[in-house]
Point group: C2
Chain length 186, copies 2
């Protein structure tokens, strides 16, 4: 289970066995069933979660009760309500499991601790965050530039595996269109 995490780190930074074991000691594990909540609106968010196995979604529910998916996360991705996590304030997002899930959990305290103790981990998270920033910029441009059909095709191209694992309703909610409209586009 922790091999996935090690490989994930080592895509960016080399680690000795000792270093990795030390890092790993700052994580806890968690398993959840399909449809279980990882984070609910209003919760304090204790951890950032690395997905070892399974698939989750993070979404916000608006005043009219409609969900808007901010993020999916599958194997090798991180997910949490970052706003809530970094500022240790109540969550405005809900995160739940689309499939059965195995997670490695990293508290903010432990994140800061390993970043302070191991310079290369701070480097890892900096670069990771930069990549994430760029990915979100791309998504914003795609929301501004492209109509629903083009956004659908871009997503299909970017994450072909996703479509076997989530219903179209959720894809629609991620793309920002109604499921009926999405259905008419395909």
């Amino acid at each position: 289970m922790s091999l996935a995490l090690r490989q994930h780190f080592e895509k960016m930074i080399p680690l000795s066995d000792q270093e990795f074991d030390y890092l790993l000691s700052h994580f806890t594990t968690k398993k959840l069933r399909k449809h279980q909540f990882l984070v609910q609106e209003g919760d304090f968010v204790m951890n950032d979660y690395f997905v070892v196995k399974g698939l989750l979604k993070a979404y916000h529910t608006d005043q009219e009760g409609k969900d808007h998916i901010l993020q999916f996360a599958m194997e090798d991705w991180w997910i949490t309500d970052y706003q809530a996590y970094f500022s240790q304030s109540p969550a405005s997002l809900t995160i739940d499991c689309v499939e059965e899930v195995e997670l490695l959990c990293l508290s903010l305290q432990n994140r800061d601790k390993i970043c302070a103790e191991l310079h290369k981990i701070e480097n890892f998270f900096r670069r990771k965050s930069n990549s994430g920033y760029i990915a979100l910029q791309r998504r914003i441009l795609s929301l501004l530039n492209s109509n629903a059909k083009e956004r659908y095709e871009q997503l299909l191209q970017q994450y072909p595996g996703l479509f076997q694992r989530v219903p179209k309703t959720l894809i629609a909610s991620y793309l920002g269109v109604s499921r009926e409209t999405l259905s008419r586009l395909v």
Copy 2:
């Protein structure tokens, strides 16, 4: 001019005079007039830019020739084509000056160098990037959740100063609506 940068760093991390002077030696300065380009599509992007004075916009031009503003940057903000900068590949964005501008320029080599040499700078950029990530998530949710009017009001609330400095046409392009539609909403 460099005082702005020092204060910017010191909002997050304390610095000695020596440390700051050393950091500053890795920046160059640049001044541009209104309407000048900082980055054009296809350019290699040599720097990340810290805005000492003035206002810029970063935008993408789609196939139909329409511009979509990804980011504004004013005093105390950073701006570049991050995709192009971090991967040292040609820019897909254009960045130009809405006002006369003074910048401090940081190359990728120098960024990596000061991050490697000064752990707390790596920490600075990590936290900076995390904040940016959260801000983009908020913007995505606002694009998914809210209609044009609500997005306008959120922007107004978030950056009241912006509206005195940029024409409504640019606001519309940032919000993802036509200028006519925006005009009818206000």
